[in-house]
């Protein structure tokens, strides 16, 4: 069914089609319409689920963890302050090997207060053991929720996943979205049936105390689950394509990188703008490409290693910043490129924090700068884009 809807509604429809069974959530701008829509679905009986209006995000995740342990497919959604409040229990969810799926509406962290987009909240969770998928449009949001359940509930993965949609740009902007048939989704995604679950009559303790002589082996297994997620996602996406007729470019969505001299790496909705800029620049004869990070976790290590050995320069646009270091995505791309045969010149552009608009002109200038830098080398490896008071003009 073709429809026009916001990213938030796409999330809600994704969770509904995936037949989420227990939804525990707490409102926060700009996630609220996800939760409201799901409450609606439950109230009208369209979705057979238990909706728990918890009293905080920490409790939202704690309730999902308990429900998932009892064998229910759970879903929640949050943003920014809520996501970071959950941090403790995000780690619990992955350590407990529970395939919970959550939408995070990527929003800047306070202070200063901001309700607008950036990726610091999401990037700050990269060590939690969650799969992380950044989406560039609302269709991808809906599709990825369904795919995530299938990937994560596989016995060889059993890790939670967050689907990230940019605040307001996706969450509150309406786009055409194809809402697949429930029957088709059911044929693609079976019911959640974990091997082990907490149930009356079986005296088992879930999550006990483990001594130093055994803890590492549990973490190693979790690592294997995340490693498996890489290939399994690609297989699931292929299956998705054969059932629903579309895919979203794999873990690293490459556009016109084949013969590119310079490639821009970025994540989220800015990639959709960057695509247009690539076309415009290509039309003028500049060989540029775009590599969109769809999966930040598991990080597309091999894909980047391969890309690095083919291009002159890689510009990494981080919509976040790791203070005391560099942009998180930049650092990881650079690390992946380190083992490539040829090392491209690399530069980090910090842009779009707190919802600062990243315009086509800014992207053009980033490309142009990178082209120069790839021949000359970078003076400063990290540059903050469009900060008032800095000499360079970007607009």
């Amino acid at each position: 069914m073709r429809s026009v809807m916001t990213g938030n509604y796409a999330s809600a429809y994704g969770a509904k089609l995936a037949r989420a069974e227990v939804i525990a959530a707490y409102p926060i701008t700009p996630q609220t319409s996800i939760v409201e829509k799901l409450a609606d679905f439950v109230a009208t009986g369209e979705l057979d689920a238990k909706f728990i209006p918890v009293e905080s995000e920490h409790s939202a995740m704690a309730a999902c963890i308990a429900a998932e342990t009892a064998g229910a497919r759970t879903y929640t959604a949050t943003s920014s302050q809520g996501l970071t409040l959950m941090h403790e229990v995000l780690m619990w969810a992955s350590g407990a090997r529970l395939p919970i799926v959550m939408t995070n509406v990527a929003r800047a962290m306070a202070p200063p207060w901001s309700v607008w987009v950036d990726h610091m909240d999401s990037v700050a969770q990269r060590d939690t053991g969650w799969l992380q998928f950044f989406c560039q449009d609302n269709q991808e949001v809906l599709d990825t929720i369904i795919m995530a359940y299938k990937v994560c509930e596989n016995a060889a993965v059993m890790l939670p996943a967050m689907i990230i949609e940019d605040a307001f740009i996706l969450s509150h902007t309406s786009e055409p979205v194809d809402v697949p048939d429930q029957q088709l989704v059911d044929s693609f995604l079976p019911a959640y049936a974990p091997e082990l679950k907490i149930e009356p009559g079986k005296a088992m303790g879930f999550g006990s105390l483990v001594k130093p002589d055994q803890y590492m082996e549990f973490r190693y297994k979790a690592m294997l689950g995340m490693r498996e997620a890489h290939d399994r996602y690609l297989r699931v996406e292929q299956q998705f394509k054969s059932v629903f007729g579309r895919d979203h470019g794999g873990l690293l969505d490459r556009y016109r990188c084949g013969d590119a001299e310079v490639v821009l790496v970025c994540a989220g909705s800015v990639a959709a703008t960057a695509r247009e800029v690539v076309d415009a620049m290509r039309a003028k004869g500049t060989r540029v490409g775009l590599a969109r990070i769809k999966a930040f976790r598991p990080f597309p290590q091999e894909e980047f290693k391969e890309l690095a050995s083919k291009v002159e320069g890689i510009a990494v646009l981080d919509r976040s910043y790791t203070f005391g270091a560099a942009g998180a995505m930049f650092s990881e791309v650079k690390a992946a490129a380190y083992s490539a045969h040829r090392k491209p010149v690399m530069k980090n552009y910090i842009a779009g924090l707190g919802g600062r608009d990243i315009t086509p002109k800014i992207l053009e200038r980033i490309f142009a700068d990178m082209i120069v830098v790839s021949k000359r080398g970078a003076e400063d490896e990290v540059e903050w884009v469009d900060v008032a008071g800095l000499p360079r003009r970007w607009r």
Partner: protein, 295 residues
Amino acid sequence: MPTTIPEEEFTYPGSTGCPGCGANLVMRYMLKALGERTIVSIPACCWAVMPGYWPSNCLKVPLLYTAFEATGAAISGLRAALDLKGVKDVTVVGFAGDGGTVDIGLQALSGAAERRTDAIYVMYDNEAYMNTGIQRSGSTPWGAWTTTTPVGTTHGFKHEPKKDIMAIMQAHRIPYAATVSVAHPEDFVKKIAKAKDIKGFRFIHALAPCPPGWRMNPMHTIEVAKLAVDTHIFPLYEIVDGQVTITRKGKGLPVSEYLKLQGRFSHLTPEEIEAIQKAVDAQWQNLLAKEKSGT
């Protein structure tokens, strides 16, 4: 002579609780009353450690370990999943210490109570953060020594009165709340069995004497629990649909009988003990008044 409480055990020996652990008895009596179709959620606390290192489990029922502040949320999630799956006749229990209930766990407790989560929340109260080494909690009584309210050279001790968790639960207008004592197992079991048959959010406050934390001889655990009731420091009562009913009047012994068995009160001056007596008397009168007025 037949036993006065159900004979079947739902706990194994070999738990790593201290000798004379009151909390061990709380779990033992609770499970005797609830039986096999019970799922227990336990946050960080003494009881998170007592079942032993993996793969040891001293409970004969399923157990979910959770983060410290999460008990209220966990029981809500458990109940939702069980209901959705059509799993009936299971008692969902949140079993937490005083710290994980009145302090860090208060928000989740309040949320679960407000949402009328169908579960029993049992707070075993050893009156401090015992698992981490006897630090004060909101439930530590006025006058007690703890490692974070040390006596030192300035005659330190906890200067704030104990949080009244039963009053907090009453304010949530839950169907059933009760205090229970390990010194009165028959009453304990009876109240749990009563709670089991009520739907909605039920709260049980169990005093759990702690020999190392209270600085007492482990053989006095039951005696101290008995004195807590008889001195009116820990009265036994129920709150059924908001109505207070005292279930054991207690002998009305002086508080000094209770305090003198515990090293954590040994620094108190006669004036301070008198202050405790006055406060306890006032609270007891308050409770009697509540019972009389029907609030």
